[in-house]
């Protein structure tokens, strides 16, 4: 009887010890290193379809409207991508990277777009209130690959680098679309003038 009680107490102690080790380490890893997400939407439809796997915990929704680079299968087959937080810990992104960021219009939502221009670049916009925009210091210009169906910088302007969440580095699912995502800038969207190389 006493042995069973002692065993039960030991089990509870071991459980809590493991709990307090596993939960902070896992949460820190998912916040700081990498996480996996499923893409939804058509704005990056050529390339990615992403939506968050742990939606119920983080209450974030990825809507991604891109050209056929993500989610070519449409609604039936969503792409799953690996989001890398560690590579943007110093906020160094390149033109052509696919990044996820907090939506400037709705802070509960995360959007995934391609970086078109960095600070200091002058670009020609599609449907923005100004025809030519110089990206301010500390901001970037993001666009979805599917221009007609994309809620991106052409709608809300340059976004602050502080809203950057992660960089999408690999497509993990479906298996026939396993690939490493290379930074690729569409040639028609190159900036007119580059401040930095």
């Amino acid at each position: 009887m006493a042995q069973a009680q002692g065993l039960g107490r030991r089990y509870i102690k071991a459980f809590f010890k493991g709990f307090f080790v596993a939960v902070p380490v896992t949460v820190t890893f998912l916040d700081r290193v990498a996480c996996v997400a499923r893409v939804e939407g058509a704005s990056m439809q050529v390339f990615l379809e992403i939506s968050f796997v742990y939606q119920e915990i983080k209450r974030c929704l990825f809507t991604d409207n891109s050209k056929p680079s993500l989610n070519p299968g449409g609604r039936e087959a969503s792409d799953v991508v690996l989001l890398n937080h560690w590579s943007i810990r110093n906020y160094d992104v390149q033109r052509g990277d696919i990044v996820s960021l907090v939506s400037p219009r709705n802070p509960e939502q995360k959007i995934i777009k391609r970086v078109i221009a960095l600070e200091g670049d002058i670009i020609k916009t599609i449907g923005y209130k100004k025809k030519y925009v110089k990206v301010p210091h500390g901001h970037i210009w993001v666009e979805g690959d599917h221009h007609g169906h994309s809620f991106d910088s052409n709608a809300f302007g340059p976004v602050s680098l502080g809203l950057l969440h992660a960089r999408a580095t690999h497509i993990l699912w479906p298996p026939q679309r396993w690939q490493k995502l290379q930074p690729m800038l569409p040639p028609e969207r190159k900036p007119l003038h580059r401040e930095q190389e």
Partner: protein, 207 residues
Amino acid sequence: MGARVVGTCGAGGWRRARWRAGRASWAPYHCRMLRNALGKAFRFLGYTVQYGCIAHCAFEYLGGIVVCSGPSMEPTIQNSDIVFSESLSRHFYCIRKGDIVIVKSPNDPKSNICKRVIGLEGDKVCTSNPSDFLKSHSYVPKGHVWLEGDNLRNSTDSRCYGPVPYGLIRGRICLKCRTQLGLYENVEHAAAHFNCYSLNFCLLYTP
């Protein structure tokens, strides 16, 4: 009775000592030292990782201590004041008008700024300087907040860089640490001076 107990312990102890000596004899001394040192190093690394992760979770989801610098929030927060910030309001989206918030700077993501929320999305705010004759107003866009420092004459805030997206808010300041500096002199030891700091906390007034 007593002699029997001693006898049993003595025999058992002798057997244990023989077993330990047998085990130890095949492993050289420096190997054992290296194994011990490696074991200690791994345990230290494990504890460091575990406590680092707990600290990250605490700062990210609960709150932390912040040291403010600059004159833009005087007289509420002076230069080099220590304040406590909590992150729960940001995660549950209940930042209110009048809260003092820590925000990532829109122009430099690696630095933080500390201002008061003057307007939430949809509010009408005055965008011109106090010294201007003609006042201009605008509405705060969806998903943004309007920030201003308490020291309006010496503050670069939303009047300078526009409304700030809600996603840049890091935390809300809830407590300020009030420091009092007193100087005491010990009469018996003529050359001894010592300073005494007493810390007490005051709730920051948020209208």
